[in-house]
């Protein structure tokens, strides 16, 4: 009997007897690490290293001409906070408002696409992503045209009394919609809308409609069914969407520059100016770090409050 035949019949025997004939050799489990390595390397070079550089930069003193020396100047953080706390707070406020507005706008849309759109689903998703085919800057500039005093939006707002309402809420300063808090928040909302819609869509698409039926069967009104079943089951999408909107919106410096005024300056604009025009590198670095820590603190509190243990 040739060797291979012996082997195959032994293998058959092993299978028949429960496969205990030849215990598998335990291989060194290096594959996961190998798969992780490129990503880790990327993060080390392009995230960890710049972070450390930034931290060290913020603690140096000097000037561009004379060069910088590391002096562990922690005072710079106190100074930065004292001088720019309004911009920091404003950034968080605008971003939070834009996030809530984006959530309110996106949820019905995502729900419709996921549950009702049928064969139009893919087309509608493409339309959601379509604005990304043009640049962020161009899209924001386009809003200056959209909101311009002679445009249809402004006319509509004047005709319906929206202009007065916005003014009463101190979101605009005069009859113009542009160069106002309103314009900045509207721009932020618009620019990050797809980041809200897509995760919401993903979690609503997964939602088993039979669960909503079951809620109705168990005496829940449509609203109670939403409150107790649809909403909690879509929370992973809500959390992901709000984070993806809030975090970049807080650090944004384009919307407030193009659509705002001197009273709507956000911290991203300050950092941009300090780095590129004033050339005060330590201050800019310190502000960047403050922003980072602030966002981390807010996000971790938020995720904990959102009750991740309740998420499926």
């Amino acid at each position: 009997m040739p060797a291979w035949s012996t082997w195959s019949s032994m293998a058959e025997l092993a299978v028949l007897s429960g496969g205990t004939a030849r215990p598998p050799v335990r291989r060194a489990n290096w594959v996961p690490y190998a798969l992780l390595a490129p990503g880790l390397l990327w993060l080390a070079i392009f995230f960890v290293a710049p972070m450390l550089t930034l931290l060290s930069q913020s603690l140096q003193e000097g000037s561009v001409e004379a060069g910088y020396t590391f002096t562990a100047n922690w005072q710079i953080y106190v100074d930065a906070l004292q001088k720019y706390w309004p911009q920091l707070l404003r950034s968080v406020g605008y971003a939070a408002t834009a996030t809530v507005a984006a959530l309110v706008l996106s949820y019905p849309l995502a729900y419709y696409i996921a549950q009702k759109a049928g064969r139009w689903k893919n087309l509608m998703l493409v339309l959601v992503v379509a604005p990304f085919f043009t640049s962020f800057l161009i899209r924001t500039l386009a809003w200056r045209t959209i909101l311009s005093d002679t445009g249809p939006v402004a006319e509509f707002a004047r005709a319906t009394g929206l202009t007065d309402l916005l003014q009463a809420l101190a979101l605009t300063n005069n009859d113009s919609l542009l160069s106002s808090k309103f314009a900045v928040i509207a721009g932020l909302t618009y620019n990050f809308l797809p980041f809200m819609i897509l995760p919401l869509y993903a979690s609503l698409d997964r939602l088993d409609r039979r669960l909503v039926e079951a809620a109705g069967d168990l005496y829940a009104t449509p609203w109670q069914g939403f409150r107790h079943v649809t909403w909690p089951l879509s929370l992973p999408g809500v959390v992901a969407g709000t984070l993806l909107t809030f975090i970049p919106a807080t650090g944004d410096f384009i919307n407030s520059r193009l659509l705002g005024n001197t009273q709507t300056v956000m911290v991203g604009q300050v950092i941009d100016a300090q780095f590129l025009r004033v050339l005060d590198y330590p201050l800019a670095a310190a502000l960047s770090f403050i922003l980072l820590v602030m966002i981390l603190a807010l996000v971790s509190t938020y995720v904990r409050r959102a009750g991740t243990e309740e998420l499926v």
Partner: protein, 372 residues
């Protein structure tokens, strides 16, 4: 009890059409309060659509649904005192088992929700599992949670949509007995949708057999089995041997003579619909005896297949005209026939049923195999 309860469930001309096909033909049905009722039929026969109309999850195209004297046709699902045990269980994955069971009570603002839910969980023997999440339970346990979640509301009618379909055979048998016990204990009206004829017969007081959107026959399990009114019911409910026969004359004693491929047999006259001459003579496999009979209703053939299953042996006996008859012989100690043996089959006149030969002899044969 009957005078205090909500009353019978009554369907009047209930119809459901989708764009170009009718899922449920106009159906009239009264399901007595407190009964265990089964809607039996192959997939696509309209039984689930009927159930969903009663639950309010599907709007009927025409007709009415009444519980007692109350017309619930146009009420929303949450307004009906009807609960469903879904095929997929549809347990809320983000809630504990306890919260799942309390859901209906809480929506109605029941102050005693927690205690009632605990009682319902005890009833299905899951009193200890209240804090767990549904996905931490096995299929059978999830099924029981779904049952408790519906039962706890004490609905007028409890609907069960193939609730045992996802369970393995042993667990299914166990749950069938459980369900029957619980139904008798709580005394609610149960409507059970299933494609498993054995399940329907084991559990239900009465069965409506549905086919292609129509109700074929309604009756208690024994009546349906012994006296099917169509070839579909004869084949779908258990197995049947359908012999082409021609009624030839009377034989006295309330019997008729009939010709089956040249063999004369006796038929109970009461079983032959008036005026019918060309008929299907149906004999259930266990009514056919292997070996010499008492001289009447004998057919000779050859054993072409024998399969022993412990409690019984099933034979296929090839008739001279080429047809295979199925015979089931109880394992009662009598001698077993072997492949190729020449045997004589016989049955008692009165043990057959008679159907119009215009009906399709294969209707209901290809029913869904019990596979979960």
């Amino acid at each position: 009890m009957a005078q205090h309860g909500p009353g019978d469930l009554e369907l009047i001309g209930l119809t459901k059409s989708f764009d170009d096909f009718t899922a449920v033909e106009p159906m009239d049905l009264t399901i007595p309060q407190g009964s265990f009722f089964a809607l039996l039929g192959p997939s696509g026969c309209g039984k689930t659509t009927t159930l969903r109309m009663v639950a309010g999850l599907e709007q009927p195209t025409a007709g009415q649904i009444l519980i007692g004297d109350t017309d619930i046709t146009n009420t929303r699902p949450h307004q009906r005192n009807v609960n469903t045990v879904f095929q997929s269980y549809a347990l809320f994955p983000h809630m504990s088992v306890m919260d799942n069971v309390q859901f209906g009570l809480r929506r109605r603002g029941d102050k005693d929700a927690k205690r009632k839910a605990q009682e319902a969980l005890d009833l299905v023997e899951l009193g200890h599992a209240g804090r767990k999440k549904p996905n931490q339970l096995s299929g059978g346990m999830q099924q029981r949670v779904a049952l408790a979640r519906a039962l706890v509301n004490r609905p007028d009618v409890l609907l069960l949509d193939e609730p045992l379909g996802a369970l393995d055979l042993k667990l299914r048998r166990q749950m069938q007995i459980e369900l029957k016990r619980i139904q008798q204990e709580v005394g609610l009206t149960f409507i059970h949708v299933t494609h498993d004829q054995e399940e329907a017969m084991t559990m239900a007081d009465s069965i409506a057999v549905m086919n292609a959107g129509r109700m074929e026959q309604l009756g208690d399990p024994a009546a349906l089995y012994e006296n099917p009114s169509s070839t579909f019911v004869a084949n779908f409910l258990g197995q049947s041997n359908l012999l082409a026969a021609h009624v030839t004359g009377t034989a006295g004693d309330g019997r008729l003579t009939a010709d089956v491929h040249g063999h004369e047999v006796l038929v109970d006259a009461g079983r032959v619909p008036a005026g019918l001459r060309d008929v299907w003579l149906g004999v259930r496999p266990e009514k056919l005896a292997l070996g010499e009979g008492n001289g009447v209703n004998e057919l000779k053939g050859t054993v072409s297949d024998a399969s022993f299953s412990g409690v019984a042996t099933q034979y296929l006996v090839r008739m001279p005209w080429g047809m295979d008859l199925t015979v089931v012989q109880q394992n009662d100690g009598s001698a077993r026939a072997r492949l190729g043996d020449a045997v004589t089959l016989s049955w008692d006149p009165g043990h057959e049923f008679v159907l119009d030969s215009a009906q399709d002899e294969d209707a209901g044969v290809e029913h869904v195999v019990v596979d979960g």
